[in-house]
Symmetry: C2
């Protein structure tokens, strides 16, 4: 049954608002995805939907109506609410007319198809960067994204938003660095760290076969321990006054080179 | 003379705070750069400093002391203020201990060295993307960045912050699309648009010689008028569920390919 709610004190509204905070996401295991398209994508990919909230002004749109009906059929709560109330949940001017509350779901190292590249990140801090990297991983046919150590939350609103739906497509795995390198060794995956101290250019390095690209933190790059366990350290050419690239940029340039060396295998174009 | 101020009502504090808004930046022609390193960089590159504000806890650091003295010598206001007051000006947890108020400065199409690649952006909306692209342009030896049409402000705090100092290194030019294409024609610069409707991969396109890479908006890509005037439309290979890349990512992947085709000419490594 599709319910109509109108109070900011409604428990579902309060829950959706609380999910802006890490603590509430951890306690409930839920997260927020915005936009009818992305919520539909989450359902299509088998993610468990807890609730969908749609703005009253949007319920006559066939896509939104279908989504509410479908969500209801899966056992999720399906509600409509005044537009102004939904806007308070998304904290932005150009608010979406639908949000979905999904159950968080992490991937598993053992499930990766190692014929596809992996992206591993050491303790990334910026959720926007993380979401953008998940989007890039999806766009380049990667197997998934591995988060090593204490990382920002891939299920924060900012990360999910920046992933543009790819959070539903790309497995994200949390692992300790030692365990990740052990797994890579056991599965014949060569791990290439990118570093300002790297000895070879990305384009001069053979990045075919099972590989993972390992990126250091935004602030201080790769840890010495991780660098020591890499199969090789690569470096992107740099000019001008800038001494580093944005983390999302450096990751994308590297993984596009990995893909170029595979003849853009699997590209839609 | 280095002055000490302590009141939130001080006109310089009020000016610095106001520069968070586009209106105040337009009226005064000033903008804010954060961090002693970036303020020093601005001075090194000849940008006109209006004022420098340093946190009291930082004035004993030799770099900060030297910066205050140098700023004062150039005729800029040089002041110290309580840390909590400076923090209110930067709107972030991990506040910088120095901010500089600089005079805005735009570049000129006619001054570009056309042997170096150019990045042109149609009406970018996200200042974080714009700053990241300025940083990437600097990192890859580009001549500069051209903003076509109604663009977000390269001198917003978010853009300047994302540029990581490169706003001082890379000329940014505002132009109308028609004037830009006329300039490109007159100077033998081939303009390659990137588009989901592009007919050739970036790696299959000759991007040597005088070229500009033209990127469409985050939302709707290239305008038809601009696409029609391009020398070619290129497309980045895509896989998976994502239907596009983040604008900063797509720009970087394209411009690194431009640079790869030039043998990374001018790279420090």
């Amino acid at each position: 049954m599709i319910r109509s709610i109108s109070s900011a004190a409604n428990p579902l509204v309060k829950l959706a608002r609380a999910l802006d905070r890490k603590k509430a996401r951890t306690e409930t295991g839920l997260f927020v995805a915005e936009g009818a398209r992305h919520v539909t994508e989450g359902l299509d990919r088998g993610w468990r939907l807890h609730a969908v909230l749609a703005a009253e002004s949007a319920v006559d749109r066939p896509q939104v109506r279908a989504l509410l009906t479908r969500a209801d059929a899966t056992g999720a709560e399906a509600v409509t609410l005044p537009d102004h109330l939904l806007e308070t949940l998304t904290h932005r001017d150009n608010a979406q007319s639908v949000i979905g509350l999904f159950r968080q779901q992490l991937g598993d190292l053992e499930a990766f198809d190692t014929s596809r590249p992996l992206i591993a990140l050491e303790a990334p801090r910026d959720p926007g960067n993380l979401g953008t990297i998940i989007r890039t991983a999806d766009s380049t046919g990667c197997a998934g994204v591995v988060l090593l150590g204490v990382s920002c939350d891939p299920f924060s609103m900012e990360s999910v938003r920046a992933s543009m739906g790819s959070v539903f497509a790309m497995p994200v795995v949390r692992a300790e660095a030692a365990g990740f390198f052990d797994w890579a060794d056991a599965h014949g995956v060569r791990v290439f760290g990118t570093s300002l101290e790297g000895s070879q250019r990305h384009t001069d390095t053979d990045l075919t076969g099972p590989v993972a690209i390992l990126m250091g933190t935004e602030q201080s790059g790769l840890t010495a321990d991780s660098a020591a366990r890499c199969s090789g350290l690569i470096r992107l050419p740099m000019a001008g006054g800038a001494d580093s690239l944005n983390l999302g940029i450096a990751t994308a340039v590297t993984v596009y080179e990995v893909w170029r060396q595979r003849g853009f295998d699997g590209a839609r174009f």
